[in-house]
Amino acid sequence: MYQIIQKRKIWLSISGFLVLASIIALGIWGLNFGIDFTGGSLLEVKFRDDRPSVVDVNTKLGDMDLGSLIVQPVDEQGMILRFQEIDEEKHQEVLTRLNELVSSEDDVVIETEIATSTDDMASSTDGIEILTTKVNDSYVEELRFDSVGPTIGAELKSKSVTAIVVVLVAIILYIAWAFRAVSKPVASWKYGLAAIVALFHDVMITLGVFSILGYLYEVEITTAFVAAILTVLGYSVNDTIVVFDRVRENLPKSSDDFEGTVNTSVNQTIKRSVNTSLTTLLVLLSILFFGGTSIRDFVLALSIGVFVGTYSSIFLASPVLVLWEKLGRK
């Protein structure tokens, strides 16, 4: 039997420190919201041959009035460009210019080749045109393009906040209902509140990590991130409920005091908690490493949340419950 509850000061300090650090990180750097929320455009392209330098791209697109243009190389041949929201015409213009940037030198070669190899002048000019366009087309490949208007962004933001609030409320209500029969020595709503403390802890730390990642690696907060946070809420509360459920079951037949009973319950469920999050983390990590770039941030948020959620269900929710019971007796 591990003395988990007894050593609660250690766990509470660790959690407290992490939450505090997260709050500080959020205070300093805030969150790096993606264009889903702020509005703007994101263009990811892959260059067939050599990738032009960031400076070249900046100069080439400089006079297009794209707002703040941020160019960021990714992988071997990719590049992500961020700029303000634009219409389709400008979008195509950006692609054309990128094409020009990488294709101009080679075109000369092709043109001369054809001009010398064809006798009929009229058809040779046609030939050049057809060939150069074909070559142009394959120089730059558009992997994805997102352009979001500011109204949509603002709306998404408010929707996300609503969703989070609704999830929280629904979960508190559910826990209060699920534990309605338990009243001694701790009232049922306190279980709910302890679970919420754990939730708050999980979400704050996940946000804190993303604040730091946003600052260091420009990881963005997208709608998918909100979905991840909401899933973490569900997952974390799931974990906490399993522990509390055991407490609920053990309380009537236990001869031990509340602290002892809770500790027994935590010990009985710890293997399950660890194993479940282990299997979940196994699949999450396999997506993280093999699942492609598009959902990497999303899965990262889930992984952090699941990990922290498991920790908090063992080392935070139950100690908080015991602490509360102790304070109540004084």
Binding site: H91, L143, F145, D146, V167, V226, N275, L281, V283, L284
Partner: protein, 695 residues
């Protein structure tokens, strides 16, 4: 041994029940498997057939493909807002539906398997969401949707504004200059200078100036003013003075004149007829308000026929005719030629009727007619050249200014068909419009209330044609004439056919995923899913041993069932949806873990296997239920509050959690009951538990 006794007592029936459930599970597994993997099984059957040469026709399985989202297929998600500022509040929702219909038609051209076009009203914003999955050329699609023309019909706003001082000055200056110019030109014409050269130099008619101002052969029917002017000219004569016309000054030259003949048979003269008619429509004709059935209408017109004489015809028309406005016009149609009226009407009047008589009853698409043929004459054709000097009027300035036009209900929404046509007079390219029945009624209303006034046809917010209405037009046909080249007119007709939008739209959000990225993402997620599945399976077997194997079997069962469900409910699989699915693999094991941990405890306390399994499930159930309910709540809320990309995640995770719960309490339990006897349950290694001493 109390436990043994009890379990033996219940064994016969309990055992049978376990087997029945097992068979049921197998059946579900086979059905789901054949739905989920239909194509693979079919391939396998084909392979066997080829390999063994057996020619028995095995029944093939239906092959339902997975529905992949655009982030996996490649494609684009577009959000448009419709500008409703000019639409009444009450009509906005239906206008939005109109936009959707048009875009849908537009989008169907792209050959995307299942294009999605949705409307969405959010706050004060009217939106159209278009999702094109698997589309090859996104840029072209966006362009084609965006390019769709906006066709509007506008009438004059009765609240006419005054010209501003600046505008008046521009107009006056322009007109003074025109007058100077035309005075100069007429002097030269009268002095005998070459008309064609003068036309080339001075005429403002861009269509004719290069041909020496030649208008070609015209008749009084199509150019009443011109014909009226040159009527008395001798061939070769020019105007002696300039003529003040509606939009400028005209100088004519009569090159030639002749009696019009049939273009296919020059010996046959063409004539025109002056006639009036009496119309009785009936309730089989759209828009008819007579209230008469077809039989009644026929009976009534027969009655009228017996009474009718040339003298009382006008009175009868005024009394009985159902044609709108007949009580004023007396059914007078004026002069018309063979090409003007519908066929039965023309055949009667031109081929079967003497001047001064009343016809037999003629049935047309408008109802029953009696026609009084008042006069018939040869059509004189004039070959005329002209020099045109433009002036501008107040109306021109105001007409060019869209603020002084007000919208009518008639828009491109009601368009049935647009086609390229040619003006019979000058062969210039035009676009003919045909409206649907609702549009025809609207058009009749609009022309009816604007007789003698201009009606403007706006394309993409610009007036392209502002004809003046001569009379009410039924039948829903209109012509847009303007300075079109043939190609322009053809293109416009094509664009209009593809669909004209009732309101302007603007793209506000675009998410495009290239096909390559989609493919890569799909491959990567499949790989990740398989690796995840293997890792979880390994972990479960290594840690829980025999029950672990059951959990893996249950997991495979879960996998097959969930894939079958995706196909049955045609759930769109997006990238986030696949993430949800993979995540649910991890979570699916959760229930098993809960049960196995309990089972270990129960077995450790020395309970016989049957009781231990039952207790383990009972005790684990509350935890499984409470835990999963919270996840399901989250999924439901995610589904309600988010957009398509995240929705996929919510659906797959939610479905996954529900199905996995079912698997755990059904499949795992059944397997445990089936295999674990008391004898096996004593094997602590196989079940991975340690006996405790206290019980």
């Amino acid at each position: 041994m109390e436990g043994n006794f009890i379990s033996k007592l219940f064994e016969p029936s309990a055992r049978a029940k376990v087997w029945r459930i097992f068979i049921f599970i197998i059946v579900i597994f086979v059905i789901s498997g054949s739905i989920a993997g239909g194509s693979y099984l079919n391939k396998g059957v084909d392979y066997l057939k080829n390999k063994t040469g057996i020619s028995i026709n095995l029944p093939g399985l239906p092959e339902i493909p997975f529905k992949l989202g655009l982030d996996l297929l490649g494609g684009t998600h577009l959000v448009y807002t419709a500008d409703m500022s000019e639409i009444d509040n009450a009509d906005r929702a239906s206008a939005l539906e109109g936009v959707r219909d048009v875009i849908e038609r537009r989008v169907n051209v792209f050959g995307v398997s299942e294009p999605l076009v949705q409307t969405n009203i959010s706050g004060g914003d009217y939106r159209i969401i278009v999702e094109l999955a698997g589309i090859q050329d996104v840029a072209e699609a966006v362009k084609m949707i965006g390019e769709t023309p906006l066709l509007e019909f506008k009438e004059e706003d009765t609240a006419q504004r005054e010209l501003t001082e600046e505008e008046r000055k521009i107009m006056d200056d322009f007109n003074t200059e025109s007058l100077t110019k035309v005075t100069e030109v007429i002097a030269k014409v009268v002095a005998g200078e070459d008309f064609a050269t003068l036309a080339k130099t001075y005429s403002d008619d861009d269509n004719t100036k290069d041909n020496g101002g030649e208008l070609g052969w015209i008749t009084a029917n199509d150019y009443p003013q011109v014909a009226g002017e040159v009527e008395n000219y001798e061939v070769g004569d020019t105007s002696k003075e300039y003529i003040v016309a509606e939009n400028g000054y005209e100088i004519f030259k009569l090159n030639d004149k002749r009696v019009k003949t049939n273009p296919f048979d020059e010996t046959q003269k063409e004539t025109e007829v002056k006639a009036s008619h009496l119309l009785l429509c009936h309730n089989e004709i759209e828009g008819c308000e007579s209230g008469l059935s077809k039989e009644d209408a026929l009976a009534k017109i027969k009655e009228i026929e017996t009474e009718a004489t040339p003298n009382n015809f006008t009175d009868l028309v005024k009394e009985y005719s159902t044609e709108p406005g007949a009580s004023e016009t007396g059914g007078e149609l004026g002069w018309f030629d063979r090409n003007t009226m519908v066929e039965p009407f023309t055949v009667t009047v031109f081929d079967n009727q003497e001047v001064g008589t009343i016809s037999y009853i003629v049935e047309t698409q408008f109802g029953y007619h009696l026609i009084y043929k008042e006069d018939e004459r040869d059509i004189i054709e004039y070959n005329v050249s002209h020099i045109y000097v433009a002036t501008i009027s107040e109306a021109d300035i105001i007409a060019n200014d869209s603020r002084n036009w007000k919208l009518t209900e008639l828009t491109g929404k009601y368009l049935d068909r647009a086609s390229l046509s040619f003006n019979p007079n000058d062969n210039s390219a035009e676009v003919s419009l045909e409206f649907d029945s609702e549009g025809s009624d609207l058009f009749a209303d609009i022309t009816g209330r604007n007789i003698g006034k201009p009606v403007a046809i706006f394309l993409d917010g610009q007036p392209i044609s502002i004809p003046t209405v001569n009379g009410q037009i039924f039948g829903g046909r209109a012509v847009i004439s303007g300075d079109f080249s043939i190609d322009d007119a053809k293109l416009l007709a094509q664009r209009l056919n593809a669909g004209a939008l009732p309101v302007p739209i603007e793209i506000v959000s675009q998410q495009t995923v290239g096909a390559t990225l989609g493919h890569v993402s799909l491959q990567a997620s499949l790989k990740a899913g398989i690796i995840g599945l293997i890792l979880v399976a390994l972990f479960m077997i290594l840690y829980y041993r025999l029950p672990g194997i059951f959990a893996v079997v249950a997991l495979m069962f879960y996998g097959v069932v969930i894939l079958a469900m995706f196909k049955i409910f045609s759930v769109t699989l997006t990238l986030s949806g696949l993430a949800g699915l993979i995540l649910s693999i991890g979570m699916a094991v959760d229930a098993n873990v809960l049960i196995f941990e309990r089972l270990k405890e129960e077995l450790a306390s020395g309970k016989p296997s049957g009781i231990a399994i039952r207790d383990a499930f009972e005790r684990a159930w509350t935890s499984i239920r409470d835990g999963n309910v919270s996840t399901i709540i989250t999924c439901v809320i995610l589904y309600i509050f988010t957009t398509s990309m995240v929705r996929g995640f919510a659906i797959t995770l939610g479905l996954g959690v529900i199905v996995s719960m079912f698997c755990a309490i059904f499949v795992t339990r059944n397997l445990l009951q089936l295999v674990i006897s008391d004898k096996i349950s004593k094997n602590t290694w196989l079940l991975a538990y340690k006996k405790t001493i206290n019980d």
